[in-house]
């Protein structure tokens, strides 16, 4: 009897397992395997090269450049997007005229595909006749070239990412805010707590599970979403705005150096696993589940 239940259980999760193994685990293992072989070219078949691709990566200045870029990109976008999302959620949580309209306005960037978003921002950023320069021109300022300057290209991409993501995270915070029983705040108010104390001691701690979820998503997205780079800068100037995943695409599908592309992918996978595990452990102590 017990054995039959065991088989029954496995059969139930079999469809999901098959999909996960076929489309997630198998390609991951294959990538690992490709990273220790050379790139096959024409009649030259791939041969085992051991850690050669990894050695090359350590000596590749572009790799370090895109990795550093990616860390700055993550540090710059994640806290800002989350803070902005929380602020917007608190703002549109209380009733006021035009609430539905504001919610929709905040959420609109999320509905748009990133490519469309990038095209809109390309119009904003265009030197000379873009929206930013037209507005600056009214105040007698000269033209800018935000995407063409290595110092501002990456921050310009970060602004686009924050604009796109904050609305999405707001929805989660809004749902979480509405799930907090109002009695808690009422009780605190009777005790004489101010609005800031209520937010800091009651609302924010109760939002911690949402913050954990949102921050994991934000971290993954900061490594996963690179569509806007194709439209806005193509990684330039001189790789100033290239991110790890964009470099992987370039290596694999422009240079067709698939083995090196696989090596870079292994690094990305390892990095994401570490970050996810780290976040779970770090937040474990601070998250209160009801």
């Amino acid at each position: 009897m017990r054995k039959r239940e065991w088989i029954y259980g496995w059969l139930l999760i079999l469809p999901a397992l098959t999909l996960i193994f076929l489309f997630t685990h198998f390609p991951a293992v294959l990538t690992l395997l490709h990273s220790v072989f050379s790139t096959p070219r024409g009649r030259k078949a791939a041969h085992f090269v051991g850690p050669a691709n990894y050695e090359r990566m350590i000596h590749d200045p572009v790799f370090w450049k895109v990795l550093t870029n990616n860390l700055w990109y993550a540090l710059g976008t994640i806290p800002v997007a989350i803070a902005l999302a929380l602020l917007m959620a608190v703002l549109v949580n209380r009733p006021f005229p035009g609430r539905a309209l504001s919610r929709m306005a905040f959420f609109t960037p999320t509905i748009l595909p990133l490519i469309a978003v990038a095209n809109i921002w390309l119009f904003f950023y265009t030197p000379g006749f873009g929206l930013i320069d037209q507005i600056l021109g009214l105040f007698g300022q000269g033209q800018t070239n935000l995407l063409g300057d290595p110092a501002t290209a990456l921050p310009a991409l970060m602004v686009v990412a924050v604009w796109k993501e904050a609305g999405f995270f707001m929805i989660f915070y809004l749902a979480a805010l509405q799930a907090i029983p109002p009695q808690l705040a009422e009780a605190a108010r009777i005790e004489g707590a101010g609005r800031w104390t209520i937010f800091r001691r009651i609302t924010f701690p109760l939002l911690m599970p949402t913050t954990l979820f949102v921050s994991i998503n934000a971290v993954i997205n900061s490594f996963r979403l690179v569509d806007h780079i194709f439209i806005l800068t193509n990684g330039g100037p001189d790789n100033a705005s290239s991110l790890l995943l964009f470099y992987i695409y370039e290596t694999s599908f422009r240079y067709w150096d698939t083995a090196y592309g696989a090596t870079l992918t292994v690094v990305l996978l390892a990095l994401l696993c570490l970050l996810a595990i780290g976040q779970f452990f770090f937040f474990e102590r601070k998250v209160h589940y009801k």
Partner: protein
């Protein structure tokens, strides 16, 4: 009962379908990119339709595959997956990339009769430079271009310059640029003198400067680059100085895509861009404009660019000979003239320019001849083994120098070292 009935009906339907269609022995897949504004994709489709009308036994499926970059990615992916197209238009400089991957066939096997040989010899030699290696022809020039200088005659007049005289030399261009650069009361520039776009693929226009300076970027075998030679370094100095010293060009990376728009809006008085934009400029410029050859320095010079037809391995002999027949047809004078008039691409064969259609067009719109006349000075485009990677190394170096992160010398020396590391495997 129902079963038999159903089967019978299905067979009848299938039979009807087969007999309704004309006998189509050969199916061809044809990937093509579109890199300029205007209705290039529609023209390709109307041309293939016209061919199929005359050749009912051949069915061509023209597939718009995006930019040049998208097209080569799609073609290589499809070929690696065992499903290559028969014909594709891709950058002429990707010849080595396709050869290294062992994906393409030479056209020589299909050039047997004297008429065929005359056809192959009938292309401009400048266009064949990036199409032949080791004595074999791997690409047939089709949507080929060369950069030219467009100037705004109204702006020239306003600046006190002769509206009918474009700059002839590097010094001229900088000097005229200074007169054409206008600032407002706040000291902000409202009109730049010249615009040489540097985003995405700055190497392409930069090659023009290198050629005018008597330099070369790579050898014909695609195994050596000369990025740190004095001629190349000097050319980069000139480009950088246009922004930093002469202050006649917008500083930083200048966008390629927005360049025609900047010209139309009067943000720049001169621009360098592909002749493939000619029809676009003609339709949209709200002022009188002129088209000139690139200014010379030590000599005249310009790169060629654009796409060639390639023939892919893994197809049946019938498909391949039908494919070659189609390529011969579409590069024939009449079809080629239609294509040039629709886009502005340079007709790749002298014979096209002798057709009555083309002569009439040139008479009515003489700027179309500038690109053709520049061809005698044109050189091969940078094309090496692992071309995309080597080109990107040069692009990065140019971007670093243009944005002032490195001096032209340092940037190009680094680039040469990196290119050597990649190419040493092919020597």
């Amino acid at each position: 009962m129902f079963d038999t009935l159903f089967k019978g009906a299905a067979t009848a339907a299938a039979l009807a379908l087969v007999t309704a269609l004309p006998a189509r022995a050969v199916d061809l897949q044809f990937y093509f990119p579109v890199a300029v504004g205007g209705g290039a994709a529609n023209t390709i489709e109307s041309l293939t339709d016209a061919y199929m009308k005359d050749h009912p036994d051949v069915k061509i499926d023209p597939i718009y595959a995006g930019s040049y970059q998208d097209t080569i990615t799609k073609v290589i992916t499809a070929a690696r997956g065992g499903n290559p197209p028969q014909i594709a238009v891709a950058l002429s400089v990707d010849m080595f990339t396709l050869l290294d991957d062992d994906l393409i066939l030479p056209f020589d096997d299909y050039v047997k009769t004297d008429a065929d040989k005359a056809w192959l010899d009938g292309f401009y030699p400048a266009f064949m430079e990036n199409s032949q290696v080791d004595g074999k022809t791997w690409g047939i020039p089709f949507q080929r271009s060369t950069p030219v200088l467009y100037w705004n005659k109204a702006a020239f007049k306003a600046a006190g310059l002769d509206p009918n005289t474009p700059p002839a030399t590097w010094q001229d261009m900088a000097a005229m640029g200074r007169k054409l650069t206008k600032t407002d009361a706040n000291g902000n520039v409202t009109q730049w003198g010249v615009r040489i776009p540097t985003s995405g693929f700055p190497y392409w226009l930069f090659q023009g400067l290198v050629a005018e300076n008597g330099g070369k970027l790579a050898n014909a075998e695609g195994t050596e680059t000369y990025f740190d030679s004095p001629e190349v370094i000097e050319a980069l100095h000139y480009l950088v100085d246009l922004s930093s010293k002469d202050k006649v060009m917008e500083p930083g990376i200048v966008d390629w895509g927005a360049t025609p728009k900047a010209f139309f809006e009067g943000h720049t008085a001169m621009m360098w861009t592909t002749t493939g934009n000619l029809t676009n400029v003609r339709k949209n410029a709200p002022f009188d404009f002129g088209v000139a050859m690139l200014p010379k320095h030590k000599m005249r010079g310009a790169p060629t660019g654009g796409g060639n037809f390639y023939l892919f391995k893994g197809s049946s002999p019938e498909q391949l000979s039908a494919a070659v027949d189609f390529i011969k047809w579409i590069t024939a004078p009449e079809q080629s003239a239609q294509w040039t008039m629709a886009t502005g691409y340079v007709a790749p064969r002298p014979a096209t320019w002798d057709t009555p259609t083309m002569k009439e067009y040139a008479q009515e719109f003489p700027p179309v001849l500038v690109a053709r006349d520049q061809l005698q000075y044109a050189t091969a485009e940078l094309s090496t083994h692992e071309n995309q990677r080597v080109t990107q190394i040069l692009n990065d170096a140019l971007a670093a120098a243009i944005t002032g992160q490195k001096t032209p010398e340092d940037a190009l020396k680094d680039a040469q070292q990196k290119a050597d590391a990649v190419l040493s495997a092919y020597r």
